[in-house]
């Protein structure tokens, strides 16, 4: 039941720091936050998962939809995650190869936006 979201700006990146558990009950709030940013024309988004204790497929689905929305606008989408327990969920679903998973916020916002190249 417990999800914390903290949004800030870092250069031209928007950063959502997530804390707590991302599941079917709480993921809608993360989805709404992502949609709100894209509606504000924020197309470079980092989602910080360092404070996340749990994520399931509903949470992964929301991140996938975030990546998709941002790509549609030629933007960039990155995750920050170093916790083995959480990385494992990305790993076994194969999503480690889909997301740009960084080991720090600095690394994420240092990206030169190369991701945008591929957008339609």
């Amino acid at each position: 039941m417990d999800l914390r979201l903290e949004v800030s700006e870092r250069g031209d990146w928007s950063v959502i720091e997530v804390g707590g558990e991302i599941d079917v009950a709480t993921a809608p709030r993360l989805r709404e936050q992502l949609i709100a940013l894209v509606n504000d024309q924020r197309y470079r988004i980092v989602v910080g998962l360092e404070g996340v204790d749990f994520i399931d497929s509903t949470g992964l689905g929301v991140l996938i939809s975030g990546l998709k929305r941002v790509r549609t606008h030629g933007g960039s989408f990155a995750l920050v995650c170093t916790e083995p327990r959480i990385l494992k969920v990305f790993e076994i679903t194969g999503l480690l190869a889909v997301f740009n998973v960084c080991s720090s916020l600095e690394e994420a916002v240092a990206e030169d936006g190369g991701e945008g190249d591929e957008a339609p």
Partner: protein, 175 residues
């Protein structure tokens, strides 16, 4: 003081209303039960929490009104039941719903997770995850729903999938 043999055949049953808010309670209970068993380490405990979360989510969603993001809990829905049996060094978890059932062999095929097309599908990761985490998985149809039976063995460290995966796969971007 914990007598491991005394746990043989122990059954814990949890009945929950079919609302998304209670999935966390199911995770708490399985986590507490597994934590007591010295055979299951922390990583395996996390596996069980995830698999239980996925199965309960499916059970609850099957009983909700409407589909996808717009689904809402039905106050008249019957409860879902999680039944955990600790026996012979294994943990069996059965989750029963009254959501009308489905055909597990007829699930929509999704594009490969690495294909750009996959981004068009938010869902469809739950059952694949359970399949990977459980040592045994069965969907039993009931009169008005489904019982998902999952069995978990404690895994020896050597057999575990290595976190981070094959060289080069970790942290790489498709961008």
């Amino acid at each position: 003081m914990t007598d491991v043999t005394a746990a043989a055949g122990d059954v814990v049953e949890l009945e929950l209303p079919a609302r998304p808010e209670v999935v966390s309670v199911a995770r708490l209970v399985i986590g507490a039960l597994v934590a007591v068993d010295p055979l299951f380490d922390e990583e395996r405990c996390a596996d069980l929490r995830l698999a239980v979360s996925e199965a309960c989510t499916n059970a609850i969603q099957a009983e909700m009104v409407g589909r996808g993001r717009d689904a809402v809990a039905d106050p008249e829905a019957e409860p879902i039941v999680m039944r955990c049996v600790l026996a012979d060094g294994q943990i069996e978890v059965a989750i029963t719903d009254h959501g009308g059932g489905f055909d597990p062999s007829g699930l929509q095929e999704h594009p490969e997770v690495t294909s750009p097309d996959r981004l068009n599908y938010e869902g469809g990761l739950g059952i694949p995850l359970i399949t990977m985490l459980a040592d045994h998985l069965e969907f039993l149809p009931t009169a008005d729903g489904t019982t998902v039976v999952m069995r978990f063995e404690p895994r020896t460290p050597g057999l575990r999938p290595i976190i981070g995966g094959a060289p080069g796969s970790a942290g790489s971007s498709t961008g």
